[in-house]
Symmetry: C2
Subunit: 209 residues, 2 copies
DNA sequence: GTCTATACACTGATAGAC
DNA sequence: GTCTATCAGTGTATAGAC
């Protein structure tokens, strides 16, 4: 039955997400994914043929959670730079809290095998047409000329903004361990307060006063 | 012969570093490490007994490359906050260029198994006595009172500084792919220019003008 | 200390019954 | 579509000769 099939396919994908994102491609076991999905190991191969193909699907979905968001926000051309930063950080940190394991997963797997990105690009052309940086560059240059912000290019600014949001999540174990005595609760508070802190930090970094 | 032994032990460790840092614990193969070291697979077990023990050694060494450096710099109490930031970013980015794969390796393995950190702490007490943040906090509070910098706590500042240095290295494949059309040369130039950019960015973020 | 040969467990994948 | 049983390949680890 098709109804049943869709359901099983979804259960497998959800289980695969869970396991792959925590253990990575090489650390994940098909058996564990099957257990997590509550089905038999053979069914995984029935629906996705190979481990690599299943992984690819999971990776693409993870990727598409975080990348288009960047595009959406940067492209909202009616906003000032300050408003964009405010809006981006606010939304991106919320998104990160919802999916805290995805950034580390994507970054790690891409380091192990950068080739995956090329495949994702080929399947989703929209990712590739990211020349939105030129437009953002123009806006930054414009506001700099008007004396609103100090000069900075879009790639550096975006790297800084995204890095300040993602880094404390990706490097959580080490920062929490070294700076917070491995106290999970204190680190959660730290992250909570960072939203406002990061916005202030960035605005002040580029603002002309 | 002891001379020969030391040499082989070192060769194994160097090979293990190379393979583990690129493939991770679960992705690495003892056979590949043996090949890389130019010796037999059985010798690996003769010197390090198990894959896990060999990995642990490699992890500890990788860890000790980047963490004590933080301590050294933050503890140089005779410097102003601005000088510390200048000095830190300059030195840390140089260090990152020398060992670009270590941060991603450490971060990833700690996400897979945060327990490793506890083991490292137990073996190296110096890592744990990182209460240097209290001292740095005092200095930040002092300079803020004097009207030199805007108020910020040590943990947020250190997270920002380290994040701005490490993130473009760790997330290189994705940033290079999306923002630089996968052009390696252009990304190298980008990284080269970031040293000055990052320092300016941070100084302006906390400076009172 | 270093090698060859091999034990033993596990993993991804398939065959075939229902 | 879903299951059980099983295969072929690979991985860590050890035994034992030199």
């Amino acid at each position: 039955m098709i109804e049943q099939a869709k359901d099983t396919e979804t259960k497998i994908l959800d289980a695969a997400k869970e396991v792959f994102q925590h253990k990575g491609l090489t650390g994940a076991r098909m058996q564990e994914i099957a257990d997590q999905a509550g089905i038999n190991k053979a069914l995984l191969h029935y629906y996705y043929r190979t481990k690599d193909k299943l992984f690819e699907k999971v990776f693409e979905l993870a990727f598409s959670v975080f990348i288009p968001k960047i595009r959406d926000i940067v492209l909202s051309t009616d906003k000032s730079v300050f408003d964009k930063i405010n809006f981006f950080v606010d939304n991106y940190i919320d998104l990160l809290n919802k999916h805290p394991y995805i950034p580390g997963f994507v970054i790690n797997e891409l380091n192990r095998n950068p080739q995956i990105l090329v495949q994702v690009f080929e399947k989703n052309v929209q990712f590739k047409e990211m020349n939105l940086f030129e437009k953002f560059d123009a806006q930054l240059k414009d506001e700099a000329k008007k004396g609103i912000i100090r000069p900075i290019d879009a790639r550096n600014l975006m790297t800084n903004v995204i890095g300040l949001c993602i880094f404390p999540i990706v490097a959580r174990p080490i920062i929490q361990g070294i700076m917070f005595d491995n106290n999970k609760k204190n680190y959660d508070i730290f992250l909570e307060q960072r939203k406002k802190m990061v916005i202030d930090f960035i605005i002040n970094a580029i603002k002309v006063k």
